[in-house]
């Protein structure tokens, strides 16, 4: 299925308390070599027809990201990536 992925991240200068909370919890798991964690949104859009990057960019700009605090990037999904589960 044609799918576009929009990644939305807080701008670097905006504080990310959630990412910070994760980063602060890491030493308790014995992880000491992480310098920063940032948490954003990954949005998968499925189109009925061809995946439309321009359309997706427009949706992202108007709705999915708030330009005051967030940056976004848009790309066509790597085939099969989204369904991929881990482990």
């Amino acid at each position: 299925m044609p799918r576009v992925v929009v990644d939305v991240m807080l701008k670097p200068e905006i504080l990310d308390p959630q990412g910070q909370a994760v980063a602060n919890a890491l030493p308790r798991l014995g992880v000491t070599d992480v310098s920063s964690v940032r948490i954003g949104r990954r949005i998968e859009i499925e189109f009925t027809g061809q995946p439309d990057l321009d359309r997706a960019r427009e949706i992202a700009d108007k709705l999915l990201a708030n330009p005051v605090i967030e940056d976004f990037s848009v790309r066509v999904a790597d085939a099969g990536h989204a369904g991929e589960s881990n482990p």
Binding site: I14, L15, P17, Q18, L63, L64, N66, V68, I69
Partner: protein
């Protein structure tokens, strides 16, 4: 003639009845406005109430901004229609670019409900003229995403032009920059406020009666403006 105040209900609005009650106690006639109806039914002022419009999914206020009623309200606001956004309403006003900045996740990551002291920093707006500048009031705050952010330049400009309407005192409940609890647009007709004045209008159910001033302010303001 009694002032007519419209209270908008979006799907997921929660404090709409409370806002209506507060406006009524202040002496206004309340008109219910519906998200899907662009007609403002001739109201003199609008309250965007608290709640979780559209579930507050994605970002608070992000989807509500596109409701048909918001088109009319945005146009009206730019032309001077008084609009008060409380909590979710404040978030919607920021998303709609009627107010600068944004409201983000509380820094401690929790929803927080407490009785909060505020200082009214600007008594010059349509919604705060019943207060004394510097007056301290006690009203409830309750939000999960009430941390006000904007870039330094915007913050400086808000301060310099007297557009910081209210500030948290005695502890910042969400990490808002410069303890900002509410701001206004340049003209002072549009005000966004995180805490909830509509929950401090009756001795029996609120921590004080201090919230009533926002609603009496708008009546004063409207009385002073020839129709």
């Amino acid at each position: 003639m009694t002032a007519r105040i419209g209270v908008v209900t979006f799907p997921g609005s929660l404090d709409d009845r409370d806002a209506a009650r507060a406006a009524r106690i202040a002496g206004a006639e309340v008109v219910s406005l519906w998200h899907d109806d662009p007609d403002l039914h001739g109201v003199d002022a609008v309250v965007l109430p608290g709640g979780f419009s559209y579930g507050d999914y994605l970002r608070c206020g992000a989807i509500a901004r596109f409701a048909p009623v918001m088109g009319t309200i945005a146009a009206g606001a730019r032309a001077g229609l008084p609009v008060l956004g409380i909590c979710n309403g404040f978030q919607i006003l920021c998303e709609a670019h009627l107010l600068p900045g944004a409201l983000t996740r509380n820094q401690h990551l929790h929803f927080r409900n407490r009785d909060q002291v505020l200082r009214i920093e600007s008594a010059g707006t349509a919604w705060t003229n019943a207060y004394q500048p510097g007056q301290e009031i006690l009203i409830p705050v309750k939000n999960g995403e009430g941390c006000y952010v904007a870039d330094e330049r915007t913050l400086d400009e808000l301060e310099a032009t007297g557009r910081v309407v209210a500030r948290y005192l005695g502890g910042n409940p969400n990490g808002s920059l410069r303890d900002i609890a509410g701001i206004s647009n340049e003209a002072g007709n549009v005000v966004g406020l995180m805490p909830h004045p509509e929950h401090a209008v009756e001795a029996l159910t609120g921590p004080s009666l201090d919230g009533l001033g926002f609603f009496t302010s708008i009546l004063k303001h409207l009385a002073g403006v020839p129709a």
